[in-house]
Symmetry: C2
């Protein structure tokens, strides 16, 4: 850790590089079982490679890896492969999410469905390019969901460990999809209560990004229940803080850093905690402004700026920042309370740094 | 078997009823891991229940079950659960396929994305009903893909058996999605060669519907390689015959039996073997008629009838029927050649009857 790079902790023991190398090794026609099917589906494989190899902070693999180390597991290639498989699960979620939201950009590049629509257009094929792009992205996401599973179960950890971890993995996948549906329903209902926004954040992000990867790594290593409980006490508030930071960045973030246009969450009408707090505190004219602009797909820069001002003037932004600080403090406190006999020393240090990193303003 | 009901063999040992009961038991909030997430996602679960409990001939579970019995596995609840899980995998494929094709109907009811779009409209929610319907159907398909896996791995077969079968299961899932992509690309290219149509049929349907379910059941029971090879020699031609029958029904089928409007495959522009043969033998005016109508989303009844006439007059229909007969004969021949020491007697009889049933005209 250099002390100057805020993401250095994610690179500890070259983890990001090793995760990328594991994905690179796995994503070939043989291990993905595509070889016999012929040349066409390898276009999907190439697109997945571009998607997962260029970008991503590897946050979920990091929590999985350090959840394993914290439970006494030794550093080895097998756990890196298992941890890296979470990037494929995440790729499924993002690619399908971009289809559902009709997003144009992801990680600063065209979203997968747009990329395949462009290929259709270039080849001057039959039918509409949009239909082709959507269909290809749905199938590509399905393949990522399957490959995630294949990558996890073919890592060379022993079978008992893999069987022990399967229920955690299954819960994680179901929570992710169910959380996405909650989000969709909340966006459509547009009620915007704080309780609803917090429930979406919990299932769609908090558990899936931090608690479950920690549990997956921990369970693979045979962690005792007290450690898994400790991971929850640390991971749940931290996950909520992480999602809050994401909400703030979705409104105020720098497109160069987020890889998405500023205000995309506003155009999609996401019912975030930020929105819920702003609505709760808004004057009638501020509330009317939110209702008018939120979810408007054609929202321009001045509309985004007007909403930003409302989030600032209502104190919603300051409230979110305070909440992030409080949740982070709770996570760190839970970490400190875990007895040294339960949690390996290096993992403790790394988890403390990771907590600060994933909630940092410049993330 | 009554001798009058052509589907009686699918009901042998009440298999269809037991598959439905296994799905009914599995599809509850606890085993699907939805309980903690809250009430909303159970709407997805209810929709899956309606989808898999009302309809479906349970063809894939039948081949899985009899593949197990043929390898000497004893009839038990665990193998019925494992076999039934294939209906959830199939539900993922169908629900996502209907999104990709923008189909209105499935099994005589509104397709899942249309059903959720209607709920959105009834609730007078924000955003467009179509976007909501598509997003819900993508997530519902993802959940089915995950639940299929959960249902398979939580059946009470022993762990060694499940581990032995996992590579077969993974190949099957990847082939299914890759085959769907092949189909999509062929439809878009519109080249329509017979070789391409046969490759689509092989991956999208032949392997996934018959060979792989047999292998899954066989591998779970610890089948020897000679039996698995025999299953391939029987299952591959039979699967191609099954897909050919499907192609014929897609053009000439009775909507009351197929649950889809007549001519839907023509509107979608599917490049089937039937189309490839017709194009190969068509006069210039017949070829022009095919090119004009195939893939026209607004194709009316008279256009469907005109295409039907071309398939008849070119001899493509008769050729397809002959091909079905030949492939069926090859499958039955391969079955007869399997030594009695390799294949259990009752399974042999059932597989012979199943072959006739799944390729029958009135299917």
């Amino acid at each position: 850790m250099t002390g100057t790079d805020p993401f250095a902790v994610l690179d500890r023991i070259e983890l990001r590089e090793r995760v990328a190398a594991a994905l690179q090794t796995f994503l070939n026609p043989d291990t993905t079982l595509l070889a016999p099917v012929g040349p066409e589906p390898t276009e999907l494989l190439e697109a997945v490679r571009r998607f997962v190899l260029h970008g991503g902070k590897r946050i979920r693999p990091a929590f999985c890896f350090w959840g394993w180390r914290g439970a006494g597991g030794a550093d080895c290639a097998a756990i890196v492969q298992a941890a890296a498989s979470l990037e494929l699960l995440h790729a499924c979620a993002l690619v399908h999410d971009d289809v559902m939201d009709a997003s144009d950009l992801r990680r600063g590049r065209p979203a997968v469905h747009r990329d395949f629509a462009a290929r259709h257009r270039d080849a001057v094929w039959r039918g509409t390019a949009e239909t082709f792009g959507t269909a290809a992205a749905v199938l590509l996401g399905d393949l990522c969901l399957i490959w995630a599973d294949v990558m996890l179960t073919t890592c060379e950890l022993d079978d008992t460990a893999l069987q022990r971890a399967r229920p955690v993995y299954d819960e994680m996948r179901v929570e992710l999809m169910a959380g996405q549906y909650l989000d969709l329903v909340e966006q459509s209902r547009g009620t915007g209560s704080l309780a609803a926004a917090l429930r979406v954040a919990r299932y769609k992000s908090a558990k899936y990004t931090i608690e479950r990867p920690l549990h997956l790594g921990g369970t693979l290593a045979g962690a005792r229940p007290e450690l898994l409980d400790g991971y929850s006490r640390y991971g749940l508030p931290l996950g909520e803080a992480f999602q809050l930071r994401d909400d703030v960045l979705g409104v105020f973030g720098d497109p160069d850093l987020t890889g998405k246009p500023a205000g995309d969450d506003l155009r999609e009408g996401k019912r975030t905690v930020l929105v819920a707090v702003a609505l709760d505190r808004a004057s009638p004219s501020q509330a009317a402004l939110i209702e008018r602009h939120l979810g408007d797909p054609g929202l321009a820069d001045d509309g985004v700026a007007a909403l930003q001002t409302v989030f600032e003037e209502t104190g919603a932004l300051a409230h979110a920042e305070r909440l992030i600080d409080e949740l982070l403090a709770r996570a760190l406190e839970a970490l400190h309370r875990l007895p040294g006999t339960a949690l390996d020393g290096e993992a403790r240090d790394v988890l403390a740094e990771l907590a600060v990193t994933v909630t940092a303003r410049g993330r």
